[in-house]
């Protein structure tokens, strides 16, 4: 048998291709459909042969009963609201104590101790300033404010997730999110965003439809994150609480903070509605939501994974950005060009713009240099205000962030810095509507793999923030 013999017996490539082409034309409909159908019927045949079922397999009655209660018209929503209220309450009250402990350890004790250590080693003032006052203090601040709430919120969230409750929340709320073109699972990522936007963005992985996932990523920043609550509460207490009689002060400031958070939720829907009808129109969209059976949550495993995968993951990213940002904060306050610090130059240039928007130059600079974490915005604002006003006996020196113990002292300092009620209201709005922190931006870049969407997610809330603040300032001046 030789080669040409074999060649003449087997059909040539052209014949085979022609035959496949002919058969292809005869295939009706979608090939994928036929294949899936065949796989399922084959699998069904195999299981019928190999698996015997005592009686008919039905869902456990416990699951059914629980589902009836959790998704009922009567009890579904109240249970949901109650559960999340409890979760937030535990997080906020529970985080205060460890936050204070870490702060006193790292900031009140660690900071002076490090300074004296550097001093003893004969380090020049600028090196001590850059490393201890800048990098160390910035990072310590981020860790002490960020770590405890996340270490409480994430495990609680993961427990609910592990139990199988969160898909039911998506099931209950899908109708609401659908009206803005979003997926019901965005309820979960938004909820996660209240803890931390970076974690919220990572959580959008559960949404498997590309358009709805992008939507969830781009609007996650409208969930007022853990790092912004303290700013809201402080400013509301100091400036808005004092506008009403003392007995109503607490109520008024709480209402103001809740109002801002609800505005964020409203914007999530409005912006989502607009995006899904414009730029995201051509993206692929498919809906599906699986409701897994309930499982007893595995406590230790949940604690471990939520601490490692979520808390430490986010914290590490924040620290990576806080180190250089701490250095920048110290440098802008301490590097002098032409008789004024860099911060002074920036504030002078930015002040007219800031005042036009109902803010001021200090706030704008604080939001630029405190980009690694929203937690350090207020300490940076206080430090810069002391620097600009030249207030004596307050603070710890140029470029050193600090916080004040009494609300009165904060009001005195900020009022000296030219703050009015309008500034306070607009700062609360701008705190909700500005670019996400660098940790979140980096996470968005990692998740979408696109510089375009990262830039969009930064400019979209920032543009909205300028627009809203400008509008409020304009009407404020018109009315007063």
């Amino acid at each position: 048998m030789n080669a040409s013999d074999a060649h003449s017996r087997s059909p040539s490539a052209e014949t085979i291709l022609a035959a496949t082409q002919r058969w292809r034309q005869q295939l009706s409909g979608d090939l994928h459909e036929h294949i899936v159908e065949a796989i399922y019927s084959r699998a069904a045949r195999i299981t019928d042969r190999a698996v015997s079922r005592p009686g008919r397999a039905a869902r456990p009655t416990f699951d059914r009963t629980l589902d009836r209660v959790l998704t009922s018209r009567l009890t579904g929503f109240p249970i949901m609201i109650l559960l999340f209220a409890i979760m937030f309450w535990i997080t906020i009250t529970g985080a205060n104590v460890p936050s204070g402990m870490i702060a006193s350890l790292l900031i009140d004790q660690g900071h002076p101790w490090l300074r004296s250590l550097f001093g003893a080693a004969g380090s020049p003032w600028w090196l001590t300033g850059l490393i201890v006052d800048g990098m160390y203090l910035g990072t310590a601040w981020v860790v002490s404010v960020m770590l405890p709430p996340m270490a409480i919120f994430f495990p609680l969230f993961t427990l609910l997730e592990d139990f199988g409750y969160l898909p039911r929340v998506a099931f209950n709320l899908d109708r609401l999110f659908k009206s803005s073109g979003a997926h019901g699972k965005q309820a979960m990522t938004t909820m996660m965003g209240f803890g931390c936007n970076a974690a919220g963005v990572v959580a959008t992985r559960i949404i498997d439809s590309p358009r709805e996932r992008l939507l969830a990523i781009l609007t996650n920043n409208f969930a007022l994150c853990n790092g912004r609550w303290p700013t809201q509460i402080l400013i509301a207490t100091v400036f808005l609480g004092t506008l009403v009689p003392a007995s109503l002060a607490g109520l008024a400031s709480a209402a103001a903070v809740t109002g801002v958070a609800l505005l964020g939720v409203l914007l999530t829907f409005v912006v989502g509605w607009a995006l899904s009808r414009t730029v995201l129109k051509g993206e692929v969209s498919t809906f599906s939501l699986e409701l897994p059976p309930y499982r007893p949550p595995r406590l230790w495993q949940t604690l471990y994974t939520s601490l490692i995968d979520r808390t430490l993951f986010v914290l590490w990213r924040a620290v990576v950005f806080a180190l250089p940002a701490g250095a920048v904060i110290w440098l802008v306050a301490n590097v002098y060009v032409g008789g004024d610090s860099l911060a002074g130059h920036f504030i002078r240039v930015a002040d007219p713009v800031g005042v036009f928007l109902g803010l001021n130059g200090v706030i704008l600079l604080a939001y630029v240099i405190a980009i690694p974490a929203n937690e350090i915005v207020i300490p940076t604002v206080l430090m810069l205000t002391v620097m600009v006003t030249g207030t004596q006996n307050v603070g710890a020196g140029a470029g050193v962030m600090f916080e004040l113990d009494s609300d009165d002292a904060v009001r005195q300092l900020l009022s000296a810095g030219g703050w009015t009620t309008l500034t306070a209201v607009n700062l609360m709005l701008f705190s909700l509507l500005h670019n996400p922190c660098s940790t979140t931006l980096y996470t968005i870049y990692k998740e979408t793999g696109s510089a375009k969407w990262t830039v969009a997610s930064a400019l979209l809330p920032l543009g909205l923030g300028f627009a809203v603040c400008g509008l409020v300032a304009w009407s404020w001046r018109l009315l007063s």
Binding site: Q21, R24, Q25, G29, D30, L31, H32, E33, V36, E37, Y40, S41, A57, R59, D67, R68, T71, S72, R73, G76, F77, F171, N172, L173, D174, R175, L176, K178, G184, P210, R211, K281, G282, E283, V284, S285, T286, F287, S288, L289, E290, L291, P292, P293
Partner: protein
């Protein structure tokens, strides 16, 4: 000194302005030229496409029909034909327009590019259905033959576009529209909708708005000279004959109308009811279709309504041992057998 500075500024400004205007390929002039060139090519290709399509469906392309299809004056159409003849793309033999091989190939390429792009939009993007044709009309002139082949390979060499038109192969000939129109169907005869003519666009949009799609099954209920009442995948429709002319169908001899009517949609099922899946509607395409298939909504599968969201939508279905929530629009795409429905 000051005058010198001014001169320098003027020169720099002049250089910048001329760079903006004359920069190769990016300048205003170059872009304007490209746009002109594209418009010329579009006119040529559209004319060839029109002649080819007329030929394939047994009509004769004339100067008037070309002017009508391209929305230009007959004078311009005559100039265009002369230009095409000069490029050896067509000839006038005995007063009839005939395509030369190069012209035929160009026309085929445009049709292929158009239908492949529509398939691409349908299968791999979320672009709304009523925009496919409009977008493909633009894209067909931008794709090169090589890009078209690449696109075909990426889509798995589809043979038909989402409207049911055959996509001409690389060697290919253009298949004419041979199926009968809905106008010619006797009442009570089950048929399969094979094609919806996408030109003129206003008619096409009306048909789309009624929810008609290729792949749907239908039968005429009654027919008069002014209107046709027919059933298609669960709904009754009324069309004027002039619209029905644009719906192509082919007979389904193996079915009776009663077989078709018994099919219902999953969305019609009530809490606790159980039935079998018959198939997915043709209006369900691309990723959406694959997702539903992967979840187990294939013919023969038992489906049971498990629970309804407190907001009324979505609804959770039990399928192959797992619970999956679907929105109403999706449940509207899954055909089930109503004769089979039972409560648990």
């Amino acid at each position: 000194m000051k005058a010198g500075m001014n001169t320098a500024y003027t020169i720099v400004a002049g250089l910048v302005a001329s760079a903006v205007a004359f920069w190769p390929r990016r300048g205003i002039l170059a872009r304007w030229r490209q746009a002109q060139e594209l418009a010329r090519r579009t006119r040529r290709e559209d004319a060839l496409k029109h002649i080819l399509k007329s030929e394939a469906s047994g009509r004769v392309a004339t100067l008037q029909s070309i002017a009508g299809a391209l929305q230009i004056t007959t004078g311009n159409a005559a100039g265009l034909l002369e230009e095409l003849a000069a490029h050896d793309l067509l000839t006038f033999e005995g007063g009839r327009l005939r395509l030369r091989p190069t012209g035929r190939e160009m026309g085929l390429h445009v049709v292929r590019a158009h239908r492949l792009w529509e398939s691409y939009l349908a299968e791999q993007t979320g672009v709304a259905e009523d925009e496919w044709h409009y977008r493909a009309e633009k894209q067909e002139h931008l794709l090169s033959p090589a890009q078209t082949l690449e696109l075909a390979a990426r889509l798995g060499h589809p043979t038909r576009d989402p409207h049911g038109d055959a996509i001409p192969g690389a060697d290919g000939t253009l298949e004419g529209e041979q199926d009968q129109s809905l106008n010619g169907v006797e009442p009570e005869t089950p048929v399969l909708i094979t094609h919806l003519e996408d030109e003129p666009e206003t008619v096409y949009r009306q048909l789309m708005a009624l929810g008609l799609r290729p792949g749907m099954r239908a039968f005429v209920i009654e027919r008069s000279t002014t209107r046709i009442r027919f059933w298609a995948d669960g709904n009754e429709h009324v069309l004027a004959p002039v619209l029905a002319e644009n719906v192509s169908v082919k007979p389904l001899p193996e079915f009776r109308p009663a077989d078709l009517v018994e099919e219902e949609y999953l969305s019609g099922l009530k809490l606790g009811e159980r039935t079998r899946v018959v198939g997915l509607s043709r209006a369900c395409r691309g990723p959406e279709r694959r997702r539903l298939l992967d979840l187990g909504f294939v013919p023969g599968t038992l489906v049971e309504v498990d629970m309804v969201s407190p907001a009324g939508d979505p609804t959770a279905y039990r399928v192959r041992g797992s619970v999956v929530a679907l929105r109403r629009e999706q449940a509207n795409l899954i055909r089930v057998n109503s004769g089979d429905a039972e409560s648990t």
